[in-house]
Amino acid sequence: MSDVDVRMSDEDVRMSTPHVRMASSSVRRSGAGGRAGPEGPLAPRPGAPATRTRDFGRTTLKRRHREVVRAFAEALFADDAPPSAARLDALVDEIDRFISPASKTLRFGLLAMLDAVRVLPLVLLRRLATFEELPLAARTAMLERMEGARLAPLCLVFVAFKTLMTIAYYEHPGELESIGYPGPARVRHLHVAEGAR
């Protein structure tokens, strides 16, 4: 049988395939690395992977949400000292990039959760302050209460953002190394290959 009949526009421009035609005005090739430029909303962190398919350009977090995410992450990852300001700023961008492909409904839900975290000090700590205004020790205490709360939704909000943030935070080779991960080198498959020989 013949090839599929595909018609795409009147102003045809041949693409990489012999049969697909499309309007020249519609063809927007991605730039170097297939990503928006460093000034754009999808500015990748240094060394971020390049793909031929360009990411969608939307973002999710508004200013107040970014502040909550930053304050949450600072408490979550504080050891003897909190992470650097630059590291936290980059993490907020990464979280935004992570969640932005999700549906409108889910993104709305995540923002609503952040708004809830913002005002939770009033309920959990009896303090008239938003979450990001609390000192680090109080934020840590509040997150610990959320994690151990009997009310399952409180736990879920904590676990949802903790999971997102931890995945993004420990993606950096330096952070992975600091918790003992040696990198991508593997040896077991070499033993299999040797055995086969």
Binding site: V4, D5, G57, R97, P101, T140, A160, E171, S178
Partner: protein, 513 residues
Amino acid sequence: MTGVVRGRELGAPVYAEADVVVVGSGAAGAVAAYELAREGLRVVVLEEGGHYAPEEYGAMTPSNMLGRMAREAGLSAAVGLGDTPLITTLAGKCVGGSSVLTGGVCFRIPDEVLHEWSSDRGLSAMTPERLDPYFARVEDRVHVETVPESMRSRSTELFVEGAKTMGIPMKSLRRNTRGCHGASRCNFGCPHQAKMSVDISYLPAAREAGARVFADALVERLEIAGGRAAGVRGRFLDQETGEPRVPFTVRARVVVVACGSLHTPILLRRSGLDAADIGRHLTLHPAYRVSALFDDHVGGWDGALQSVYCDHFADEGITLVGVYSAANVLAAGFPGVGKAHRRLAEQLPRLAVFGGMVHDEGGGSVRRWLSREPLITYRMSARDRGRLFRGMQILGQMAFAAGAREVMLPLFGATPFKSRGELDFLTERPPAANRVECMAFHPLGSARMSAGPRGGVVKPTGETWAVDNLFVVDGSVLPTSIGVNSQLPIMAVATMLAQGICDDWSRLARRAA
């Protein structure tokens, strides 16, 4: 062979004509497209997700992969009704679908499940003998092989040792791999293209046979005229907003739906099908991980992500499967905040992980609601809750039997357990199930097959009872949960149903004319 067209790069409407349009490019859609195209049929494949070349997977981090290639950036979940966990449901949204994000574990459908389908439900083609050639065909193409013992990670070896101490046998798994390097991140795209996901094994062959594949193509409605499917229409997603923009129409004599159990019911409903069973009977195989810390170095990241399983408790509806994951994903599972979390995260090299899965009796449903994504609800039965906690207890006991110092259960807010006796509460005084961190990777049954028009959505041929020339070939047609990983069964059933379309083509084409 032609490449995959990126719909997000198109700016003008598209019209196409074909013999068959396949909606979805995952384990079912890719297989169906290949089987139909190799018979000489003109096939168009429409995939809502984006297209990424397998060579690009290794450069992407887990969050990159989830954001680009998983539904809802990996945050999709089934809402628990009653005493039921919130169950995160990982599903692919990319060319290759969920096959890109699976661990690659390959099981055939257990004989006892097929016996129930063929004997009790009257699905006479669903027998081990009748399905054998289709399983064999798929296993050959995706290179199903037994994971050698030497590829077991130290994490897995420890659980095997613990099981052996308890007298519990473990078996080697089969996976669809060729040249696995043991990177332990299969579920974020194989960095070595060793996992034979359908974007590597089937779609190139389908394209070679003439199938055309469009990415970023959201099918919004099936075209139905006079009780017969006549094509589909939808819109390509916009490069900037990710929302539907440029329209497309594909006219076809046969429409094959393969959007998976979570989206097939949505498309059918949106297109006007109103059978009561559409979206009901969803099963999930609720799954969980139990982690353990040992005194010695484990380094569980070196070895196959999944290499052994245990069917010793199959009669209790529990399957245990070795598992690991990317280091940062495992770190997310540690409890605590600040220093407490850091203390545990720094013990990652001494961490071993094992997984369990419940052969569930269903209780799920898929409905349309506010956005394009479905509302998934799930009500876990008391029987399955018991299985959930029993499986956790067994895994915890195995870990202690292997010498674990601490065991971490997937319970919100739970601190590590220090002794085997501390796990007794799981079966004696089980906690609320909604405190369990639960996952699902095998949604099935939401448009199930039935021998008669009552009680199901599709005929044994995969054609819907309601609309002629409209077929469903994905996991949603499986009538019950199967208790094992579903990728290979979905592919084998899709092969069988696609073969049936080819065999019946002259009648279907005549009907379309």
